[in-house]
Amino acid sequence: MKETGYIAKSAWKAFVEGLVARYRVYAPCRDGETVAFRRIQGKEEPCLDRPAAGAPKAALLPQSETLFGFVLKKDPVDPRKTEVELKAEIEEPPTVILCGRPCDARGFTIIDPVFLDADPYYRKRREGTTIITLACPTAYEGCFCTSVGGGPADKAASDVLVTELDQGYYVEPLTDKGREALKDAPLEEGAPHREEAEERQRKAFTRVKKAFPGGKDLKVSPERFESDRFWQEASAKCLSCGACTYLCPTCYCFNITDEQGVDTGERIRSWDACMFSHFTLEASGHNPRAQKWQRLKQRVGHKFVYYPEKYGEAACSGCGRCIRLCPVSVEISGIVAALAAPEEPHTKEAGADREEERATR
């Protein structure tokens, strides 16, 4: 197969249908007021005109999943004896995540080191899933991928990168999984379109806000980070809901609960969030992170201090969801910028270019 390919807009529909025929396909769809990832079927097409509200991480790390079910079997002769019969199967059809954005894909590179070896459920899905990413044509509200080593055409974790052009789509297969997914896709030669694609990718790149010095250059001021007052002010407006973490392509915290009926039950793993006070509530009633500022500190700290210490890079792909969809606009990039800028008084946090951006009102 060719190095790169091209799908004319007229052929796009056929391409998607081809995928739907072979895979379980999750793609952004317009639902009511919003665009969200969901399974598409038949002749449905993904919605490309804006990033989905939630990240596609749920395809690999579901909101809730049954780890195993159990049946309590009574001994027919002696009712005093009960046996517990466990049932656990990880059956997942081959899956495609279609038209997620580079930041969505990059999220998996942050979850992988934590789950890939440790968790058979995640591994199974990860291996069975092909990620066909759509390069971002522009910057979106609150996004800052370039500050965390990504970009609108970042290839991390993607198996295929698709760049939308005037007449069609420029398609870059990146892995064998990707090539497999593209087999018998209506592909033309991509080379002629390469320049147009790269031009668009460059243009998009320049539009993305550089929120703070990214990667290795990110220096978080320890005294700022350990200042309670800093976090109290930063979190004053926070509602401590889970929107930011649940929308995040990289957050992976979970809770485990058992649900038992009369004689059957199941063990459930479901999303949990460090922003909830329950998250650290101990059986004794003591809560080491009872205050929301402690929890916000944990969230930011985990992404930009603790995780990097362990895995070398920030646990953030800069998708901006937690900013644009936060009910009260808690701006993580601004907080990090403030943490990274010791000389500035932190009251003027949130983005160097804020003043210029402010609308004339």
Binding site: D31, A36, F37, R38, R39, Q41, P56, A58, A59, Q63
Partner: protein, 144 residues
């Protein structure tokens, strides 16, 4: 046996201990024939019935829910059923809005002496639920 046809459906009844549960007893003592679908949960007072119990039952497999308490003014706890009346009326009007047929939920007042009335209520309500048939469970969402 009042004919309600085909297989049994799942009908949950919340009955207050002092009046309606007694009414059901009276009906039994009087050997008044009744359909057998209904399963009775005894509560002290209709005022104990949080509308959420009704919602919970309907969402987790019940095809119909019946709540019955003492007649207004006759509550053993003097006011319990007055609260119940307001809350259950609100619920009855709300259920159809989320696509649950309001006929699947009925609330009424039956005293300990009204065995006959209990029989008529159970029979009529059971028939109504059978006319509506089993309640379709929620479609599982495709969204992630």
């Amino acid at each position: 046996m009042p004919d309600v046809g085909e297989r049994e459906l799942r009908i949950v009844g919340f009955l207050c201990n002092w009046c309606s549960y007694g009414g059901a007893d009276t009906a039994g003592v009087g050997r008044f024939k009744q359909p057998t679908d209904l399963r009775i949960i005894r509560v002290p007072c209709s005022g104990r019935v949080d509308p959420l119990f009704v919602v919970k039952a309907l969402l987790s497999g019940a095809d119909g829910v019946l709540v019955s308490g003492c007649h207004p003014r006759d509550c053993h706890y003097s006011d319990g059923n007055f609260y119940a009346r307001r809350r259950l009326e609100m619920l009855k009007r709300f259920l159809p809005f989320i696509g649950l047929d309001e006929r699947r939920f009925h609330y009424t007042w039956i005293s300990a002496s009204e065995g006959q009335r209990w029989q008529q209520t159970v029979t009529a309500f059971t028939r109504q639920i059978h006319e509506l048939g089993p309640l379709a469970r929620a479609e599982e969402a495709l969204s992630l």
